[in-house]
Amino acid sequence: MSLAPDHAPTMARKGLAERLEPWAPVLLVPVMVLLGYLAIPATSSWLTLTVSGLAMGMMIFIMASGMTLVFGLMDVINFGHGAFVSIGAFVGVSVLIWLGGMAGAPSLVLNLLAMGAAAIAAMVVTGGVGWAFEKVIVKPVYGAHLKQILVTMGGLIVIEQLIVVIWGPEEIFIRRPETLQGGLTFAGAAIEKYRLLAVGVGLVLFLAMRFVLRRTKIGLIVRAGVENGEMVEALGYRLRLVFVGVFIAGSALAGLGGVMWGLYQEIITAHMGQEVMILIFIVVIIGGLGSVEGCFIGALLVGLLQNYIAFLEPKVALISNIGLMVAILMWRPMGMIPVVKAK
């Protein structure tokens, strides 16, 4: 009989590389910006592209965050998420057109009020539609991924077609509010005001979402639900209600993102949701399904890369996002910040 091996516990501190490892995805954003700086000859165009990349990333994040949370919490994959983007854009733009006087006035306060009204209207409507969507379409197919994908895809088509019935088949051109048009010049680089606004809104939303998820009780329940839903229910919380709440919030965020995206493109169509869905999917997958932070980083990476590549090599831009996705999945197959399921 051999003796058991000696225990020799050591209290070694983790090496720097080991401690940095979980943060590696966060570092990717500055690395990307730096690479852009090295690749793009003129500093001013680099600055312009960086700001527009960040703005695009923030808007994608706003649209994608709801989807990733819904998946993390209830294992529901919602292919109809893009429909909320379209609805939000159409409702918001309709409100802006209706408030044409306020949006056209050369006053920043009035313009922001009109924008705010449009955003709130869009969020209320998409939240309501999201609630109905959850009740009618998603609820009967919990736990069956295959059916979820099919049914939510069907929901996307129906909603898109209803938008066409209500607003007509033509695309709508929309002008941004008066004071948000044009750009500022900073260090020789032209920066559109609207993009700065988008970056600001996105950043505020991300911080608010982080605060809610990390510092409040409801956030605690949501995070615990993502990790181990059964246990949370066993402790007496009605996770189903939390889930419906998250679904509504996610839909409302998609609606807000839709308004902002519509004004960014200055043109809206019923298909815009479907088009944005593709970016949303890429972001959600590379971020790690269920992770808000991963989604944020992924969105920024996609936005920056798309803008840099579109400037450097327009033909490649179409497939650059797929390339990014492939690279990241080779590095971390579950996405940058994989969500650990305690099951």
Binding site: V141, H145, K147, G155, I157, Q161, K315, N321
Partner: protein, 352 residues
């Protein structure tokens, strides 16, 4: 004999057998039963879609994998034929090369996508295929020097398959014996062979393992089957057959363009045909595709009439206009997934 042809997977319902037989007879005699260019076009479209939908059924119904890239594979086959006929000249060799190249490209793409997404999580596959397929569709319409962009390509196929070629001077039963007829029978034969091959595949041990994985992948893995390998193999096989269907379609139409072979709408059509016909049966693809294509061609006119009838009312005409065809399809799709998950074939088999 028939049991061998069907790989021992009989329709198992008298009504279903009769319906299948009716479809087969109608398609086989289509040029004689339904004269006219439009109906022959419809019949050829049905043949192509039967094969395409059956190959999708292998993936969705038997493998339990949702793919949104099936039109991409379909398009690869079609563009393979189109490009080789365009650049290699008008010959049988070019045609064969096109079919081969399209299939190989489709298999390679399916292998790469499958390896990347299926190894982690089967649901990644749906999202990644959607992203890749849309990127490819945009790419095809952007590379207009090669692919003709949005306008697509018109090309020449061997003369024996075109209306200009007559192999009999006298019409038989009032049908002109020309290359178009020959072309139709090429498409029909290709589709028939393809569907019988798919039946063979799904009733092989390979097909059984796929079904086991669909029902419970964890358990299949535990028994010792390499789930990822089986899923990737199913993806590649289904992609190859979809590409073959695309090649047949390209031979029939003598034209390819993004909207005829690559668009998202066709992907939705395929999904609907599978679900309505019945997932995981192959026969469902036959019925689903036939019903759907006929409805698509003739029902839209009916909707137009209905819209006209409700002219004065507020929202009804807008809802019923033929352009809103997709709205009703979407509703039908959702309802059939909920209440009708086994499709027509499942219903018929239950009710025998």
């Amino acid at each position: 004999m028939i049991a061998t042809l069907l790989s021992g997977d009989a329709p198992r319902s008298r009504v279903l057998s009769l319906l299948l037989l009716a479809v087969l007879v109608c398609l086989a005699l289509a040029p004689f039963l339904f004269p006219g260019t439009r109906s022959l076009d419809t019949a050829a479209r049905i043949c192509v879609f039967i094969l395409l939908v059956a190959s999708y059924d292998l993936l969705l119904g038997y493998g339990g994998i949702v793919s949104f890239a099936h039109t991409m594979f379909f398009g690869m086959g079609a563009y393979g034929v189109a490009l080789s006929c365009e650049y290699l000249g008008r010959s049988w060799g070019a045609l064969a090369f096109g079919i081969g190249a399209g299939s190989v490209a489709a298999i390679a793409a399916a292998f790469l996508i499958g390896l990347f997404s299926l190894r982690v999580r089967a649901i990644f596959f749906a999202m990644i295929t959607l992203a890749v397929a849309s990127a490819v569709a945009v790419l095809v319409s952007q590379l207009s020097q090669i692919t003709g962009g949005e306008d697509g390509l018109n090309y020449q196929i061997p003369r024996a398959l075109t209306p200009a070629f007559k192999f009999m001077d006298e019409p038989v039963f009032g049908v002109r014996m020309n290359g178009k007829l020959l072309n139709y029978y090429v498409v029909l034969a290709g589709s028939l062979v393809g569907v019988l091959f798919l039946l063979r595949v799904v009733n092989s041990p390979f097909g059984r393992v796929l079904q086991a994985i669909r029902e419970n992948d964890f358990r299949a893995e535990a028994i010792g089957y390499r789930v990822v390998q089986y899923r990737v193999a199913a993806t590649c096989l289904s992609a190859a057959i979809a590409a073959f269907a695309g090649a047949l379609y390209a031979i029939w139409l003598r034209y390819v363009g993004p909207s005829t072979v690559l668009s998202m709408e066709i992907m939705l059509d395929i999904l609907l045909m599978v679900v309505i016909g019945g997932m995981g049966t192959i026969y469902g693809a036959v019925l689903g595709a036939t019903l759907f294509v006929v409805a698509q061609n003739y029902l839209q006119e009916l909707m137009g009439l209905a819209a006209g009838a409700f002219e004065g009312l507020p929202i009804l005409p807008a809802l019923l206009s033929p352009d809103r065809w997709l709205l009703w399809l979407g509703l039908l799709f959702i309802l059939s997934v909920y209440f009708f998950p086994t499709g027509i074939v499942g219903r018929l088999r239950d009710g025998r």
